[in-house]
């Protein structure tokens, strides 16, 4: 028996909420980055689920998901590089202390 669409969406929403919580609550910048990855993957689940249930004949959903994965990899690389750079300057990865953009 097939799992209905709403289940997939619920899983994705839960994953998104977990990721968002992580992004907002983790003090470690790497944890924030991990949260972002969760949110991106939640979006991926949505994309693939909608593709499978609504337009299975077109490949757009899958292609979008692959794009998102690629972009997530690039983003993770750029994000980690920024964190390393920030660490080298400030000797910390705690986001609360990285507040140079403050007024």
């Amino acid at each position: 028996m097939a799992i209905p669409l709403s289940w997939w969406l619920t899983v994705a929403a839960a994953l998104f909420a977990i990721g968002l919580y992580g992004v907002l609550s983790r003090r470690n910048a790497i944890g924030v980055l991990l949260g972002i990855e969760l949110m991106l993957n939640a979006a991926n689940i949505n994309l693939v689920a909608f593709w499978r249930f609504i337009t299975p004949q077109a490949l757009t959903g899958q292609v979008f998901a692959i794009f998102v994965i690629g972009i997530a990899a690039a983003e993770a690389a750029a994000g980690l590089a920024i964190i390393i750079s920030a660490y080298r300057r400030r000797r910390t990865v705690v986001v609360d202390e990285l507040d140079t953009m403050r007024w």
């Binding site: 907002l24 403050r102 007024w103």
Partner: protein, 714 residues
């Protein structure tokens, strides 16, 4: 041979092209420029003579009916203005003289403007450009089939006369020439005077052409002269006169300006400020001949007006001509400037031509125009040669003494004397010109002047009473005497006696580029009269007499040779020449002039040219200047400028108000107020920027949830 006629449009074209080429391309290369000018006029001469040959061979048909080429030029409404070319006997006769005399003058100019000499004229190439354009204008006038081309050429000549008379108004003073400022100013004034004075005539001519066009609907000369057209013009009434008379008088007005007839003759003596070849060009081959040519060309109009009672346009031509002939000849008696004597002589001889035309004789007037062109060009070029020689003598003398301070006028005949030994070629040529002008058998002037006088005499005798032809004849005969008298005086002063100035003592003969044209022209002055000599059957009469036949109003028959007339004028001429020569050949500097002794106050009157210039100064120029000042005052002092100032002041007040509005309302409230508002807002809102990423993200998340909630709720 008729194919030769197709060259006609090229005749004026070559000098025109020469002008364009010199002005646009070769003006830096003096020798090349003058060679182009001379080459082009030589080509024109060849073509013109070829056309003449074709006309001669074409027989009576061509000479009377003419050849023509129609060039539709400007479509104007329902009609097309033509700009065509035409040749008949009359044109061909002019084509013999005009380009050839121009050619002689061009060659002479090369020497006169001192090509290759250290003191060569600084605007040498430009000079040749201008005289080429001048020649193009005259040639265009002669070959014109329609009034359009005729008027265009007429105006080209007006422009060129202005440019050339004022040619030395740009001459820079330097050590070699030490030209005074006064000469520069005189040249400018003379150029303006010539231009403005002839302009009066041009306006009249243009009105005449416009009237002709409005009545006849055509600008083609031969069509205007058709009998039915002339008849129509006779019946239309305009200003209480037949239209044809009004038009003829307007056309004559143009000729009066261009041909320096009384009362518009005043520009011509002043035109002597130009270089001498220009004087020769203006006085012989081109400018002044144009006026006479015009009247001759339009003669059917004049005669058609004459036929209608109480409308004697033709009489006015004769009267003005007679007055001018006497006026010019008498003023010539009392002038000291060698060129001015010749200028007044030109005025007087033009009067003769007008007399001839005014008597209704086309051939008499034009014959004199042709012979006069040769001998007057000769006299002017001779005078130029004399001036050139004397200037050189002055140069030599000044170098020998190492002084250069003295003011010296090379045109002053009283500073000359004894030049016949020093300038033999010039002397012989000048003598030939003088004899031709005075009218001694067999020189050219004798035949032509005699024909005019014989015509007048004939008309007088045919009527018997003391009518107009009698007075014309009397004026002409007296004028002939005065002509001889002033030429005798000039010969005596210039060529006989002892040099009265060191410059004259050191004078020398001019270069061959100047003397050769003199000799050629002298030959023509001697021989040209035979083209219409009565004992040869008056060939010119047969050649061009019939050109106005078609109009059915002009009837040209050669007047038989009248021995009485010839004898009277010859005796008077010889007497005048001898008298002038005897009185002046031993003239000493500082001596009271013999004429002054005889004539007393009359001499002063003549010397001051009948005070006509002064009269014009008082009667025309001063009122005009007053009017200008009046208008200036209205403009500048009384009405317009104060009004302008008022408007300006009002504008300033208004702008002050606007300025206050601007600085208070716009600047302070709007511009600065906006800035302050944003400044304060920024101050308040800056506290929301914590710099912590997670705060920002929280705001984003909450906002999205809120928006989502709103979306779902509504």
């Amino acid at each position: 041979m008729d194919f030769l006629f197709s060259f006609t449009p090229l005749i004026p074209l070559f000098p025109l092209l020469a002008f364009a080429v010199i002005v646009l391309f070769t003006y830096r290369y003096n020798r090349l420029s003058s060679d182009i000018a001379i080459g082009s006029i030589a080509l024109s001469t060849v073509l013109a003579w070829a056309v003449l040959l074709a006309t001669l061979l074409g027989g009576e048909h061509i000479q009377v009916e003419g050849w023509q080429l129609r060039v539709p030029w400007l479509p104007a409404g329902t009609t097309v203005l033509d700009l065509g070319f035409a040749v008949d006997g009359f044109t061909a006769a002019m084509l013999f003289m005009v380009p050839f005399v121009c050619l002689m003058i061009f060659i002479y100019s090369q020497g006169y403007m001192k090509l290759g000499q250290p003191d060569q004229d600084p605007r040498y190439a430009r000079f040749f450009a201008y005289i080429s354009l001048f020649a193009a204008g005259m040639l265009g006038l002669v070959v014109a089939r329609d009034l359009v081309l005729l008027f265009v050429s007429w105006e080209i000549m007006g422009l060129c006369s202005y440019l050339l008379i004022g040619f030395w108004s740009f001459r820079k003073a330097d050590d070699e020439h030490h030209i005074d400022e006064a000469q520069v100013i005189r040249a400018r004034k003379a150029a303006l005077k010539a231009f403005i004075t002839t302009r009066i005539g041009d306006v009249l001519l243009f009105s005449g052409i416009a009237l002709l066009y409005s009545y006849t609907g055509t600008v083609t000369l031969r069509e205007i002269f058709r009998p039915e057209t002339l008849e129509t013009l006779q019946t239309i009434s305009l200003l209480g006169m037949p239209a044809v008379t009004v038009i003829a008088l307007l056309v004559f007005g143009g000729a009066v300006g261009k041909s320096a007839q009384f009362p518009l003759h005043v520009w011509l003596p002043d035109a002597m400020e130009g270089p001498t070849p220009v004087s020769a060009l203006i006085h012989a081959a081109t400018m002044v001949a144009a006026g006479v040519y015009l009247v001759a060309r339009m003669l059917p109009l004049f005669i058609a007006g004459f036929e209608v009672a109480d409308a004697p346009a033709l009489h006015w031509v004769a009267i003005v001509g007679a007055i001018t002939a006497l006026l010019g000849a008498t003023i010539g008696l009392a002038q000291d400037d060698i060129k001015r004597v010749l200028a007044y002589s030109t005025i007087s001889q033009l009067g003769y031509m007008m007399m001839g035309l005014g008597l209704g004789s086309l051939v008499a007037g034009i014959f004199h125009l042709l012979t006069h062109a040769f001998f007057k060009a000769l006299l002017f070029l001779g005078a130029g040669s004399v001036i050139h020689g004397v200037e050189h003598g002055h140069h030599v003398a000044a170098h020998a003494d190492h002084v250069h301070t003295e003011h010296f006028n090379p045109n002053d005949m009283k500073a000359m004397g004894g030049l016949r030994h020093r300038m033999p070629y010039t002397f012989v040529a000048y003598l030939a010109g003088t004899l031709a002008l005075v009218g001694i058998v067999p020189f050219a002037g004798f035949w032509s002047k005699d024909e005019i006088l014989a015509e007048a005499f004939h008309l007088w005798r045919a009527d018997g009473a003391l009518n107009l032809p009698f007075w014309v004849w009397l004026a002409g005969t007296l004028g002939a005497f005065f002509t001889a008298l002033y030429m005798g005086r000039q010969l005596g002063l210039v060529f006989w006696g002892e040099p009265r100035h060191t410059a004259a003592r050191h004078a020398h003969e001019s270069p061959s580029s100047m003397t050769i044209p003199l000799i050629v022209l002298a030959l023509f002055a001697l021989l040209f009269g035979f083209v219409n000599a009565p004992f040869l059957g008056s060939p010119l009469h047969h050649f061009m007499g019939g050109v106005h036949e078609a109009s059915e109003v002009v009837h040209a028959e050669a007047v038989p040779f009248n021995f009485t007339v010839a004898a009277i004028s010859t005796v008077l001429a010889v007497a005048g020449l001898l008298l002038g020569w005897l009185l002046y050949r031993n003239y000493r500097p500082g001596q009271v002039e013999p004429f002054q002794v005889v004539l007393g106050p009359v001499f002063t009157l003549l010397r001051n040219k009948y005070y006509i210039d002064e009269l014009y100064q008082q009667v025309i120029i001063r009122p005009v200047v007053w009017l200008s000042n009046f208008c200036f005052n209205i403009d500048d002092r009384w009405i317009i400028d104060p009004f302008v100032d008022l408007v300006g002041a009002a504008g300033r007040v208004a702008s002050d108000i606007v300025r206050v509005l601007d600085s208070v309302v716009v600047d302070r409230w709007f511009v600065e107020g906006t800035a302050q508002l944003f400044n304060a807002a920024g101050r308040g809102l800056r506290y929301s920027e914590t710099g912590r990423v997670q705060n920002y993200l929280l705001v984003v998340a909450v906002t999205i949830l809120l928006l989502l909630g709103l979306y779902l709720y509504f």
